[in-house]
């Protein structure tokens, strides 16, 4: 028997009410759920014994529930949200080759994702996949790296389409650059971490360029880069 007690909401606002009732206040503020309200996405919310999960366009937003607390719409501690990106076919596709999984991920970007520049991005990823496949000695594009990259883009609205390349290990290298001192590059690692570099005008002396680099989780990347005004040139 399925251990999930599945609740399908006819309207987003039922989900929103559930979240904002105090049971999961953080979920109510999660951008994907907010976005779903405006774009009428299909979504599901599921309770299991230990978790509540929202599944919105293949993105799973999961929050742990205190088992001592009855399943109720009230009184729940605000634990950190665990955000993962899984395409809807992940569990089904154990038998697919890496190449087939990459193609499915690209199809998902093109047809199923909420990314504003989905078509352009899918073309770029497809080109990279083709050049990697031309060389029989090359491994395929790192699936987990691509998944983390897509998750970042889906969670960050209004970004411009980046230049996308691959590292020697076939991880995604994304770059937003409009000038030598307006440069943001990130490598999405399969582990969920992201290496990034920012070149940005110094806040006191715009003639000077601040250059910084770091390592953070893919889901913290946006808040890490925001103080450095990256979105001034990387977003629309």
């Amino acid at each position: 028997m399925n251990s999930f007690q599945e609740i399908e909401f006819d309207e987003f606002f039922a989900a929103k009410t559930l979240c904002s009732s105090g049971t999961c206040p953080n979920l109510a503020n999660t951008p994907q759920i907010e976005e779903a309200a405006y774009e009428h996405s299909e979504y599901q919310a599921r309770w299991s014994d230990g978790f509540i999960r929202f599944i919105i366009d293949g993105i799973i937003i999961q929050k742990e529930r205190d088992l001592d607390t009855p399943v109720t719409l009230k009184a729940h501690s605000a634990d950190p949200i665990i955000l993962t990106t899984e395409s809807p076919f992940d569990e089904l596709d154990e038998k697919l080759t890496s190449e087939e999984k990459i193609k499915k991920l690209i199809d998902y970007v093109r047809e199923g994702s909420k990314i504003q520049f989905a078509h352009d991005l899918a073309l770029k990823l497809n080109f990279l996949n083709e050049v990697v496949n031309e060389n029989p000695d090359e491994d395929s594009i790192s699936i987990d790296s691509m998944r983390n990259f897509i998750s970042f883009l889906q969670n960050t609205t209004n970004l411009k389409c980046p230049n996308v390349a691959l590292t020697p290990s076939n991880e995604i290298h994304a770059q937003w650059r409009t000038a030598p001192n307006r440069h943001f590059a990130a490598v999405f690692l399969p582990t969920g971490e992201t290496r990034f570099v920012i070149f940005t005008p110094n806040s006191k002396d715009p003639e000077m360029t601040d250059r910084m680099s770091g390592l953070t989780s893919a889901d913290s990347l946006l808040e890490t880069i925001q103080p450095h005004k990256v979105l001034e040139w990387a977003s629309k």
């Binding site: 390349a165 020697p168 076939n170 440069h183 570099v197």
Partner: protein
């Protein structure tokens, strides 16, 4: 001789596979050493010819021990500028050393950084001075 520094006034070229430069311009990914390598592979341009850059690239195409993709490119860098720029901005001391192989006598290496040093790779990408196609047009 193997291990000698390449003179600072000379130039090196880096072959950039299409996956690292898909838009026809090198990116930081073009200058990331492979995880299993201790240095970034490059070619010493003046090894073959002292002045003519096109002739140098032609010789490098002839000897390089890689299969050159149709959409790949060679990025040209000044040795002294690479070392100075990374030292000043990236706070790393690089060394560019001649690492000839039997088939590729101009083969050289940029030592002093690893695959993980994204900042160094991005800093090198911003001081590329010339680009040539990977194959003769």
């Amino acid at each position: 001789m193997k291990g000698d520094p390449v003179p600072g006034k000379d130039h090196i070229s880096r072959y950039c596979a299409p996956k690292t430069a898909p838009d026809g311009q090198p990116t930081g990914a073009s200058f990331m050493p492979r995880k299993e390598h201790d240095f970034l592979s490059v070619n010493w341009m003046e090894y073959f010819d002292k002045t003519d850059q096109k002739a140098q690239i032609a010789k490098i195409r002839e000897h390089i021990e890689l299969s050159l993709a149709r959409n790949g490119l060679f990025a040209v860098l000044n040795v002294g500028k690479v070392i100075d720029h990374i030292h000043r901005v990236g706070e790393k001391k690089l060394a560019i050393l001649h690492e000839p192989t039997q088939g590729d006598p101009s083969h050289s290496g940029v030592h002093g950084y690893q695959h993980e040093d994204l900042l160094v790779a991005e800093l090198i990408a911003e001081i590329v001075i010339e680009i040539y196609p990977s194959r003769q047009t």
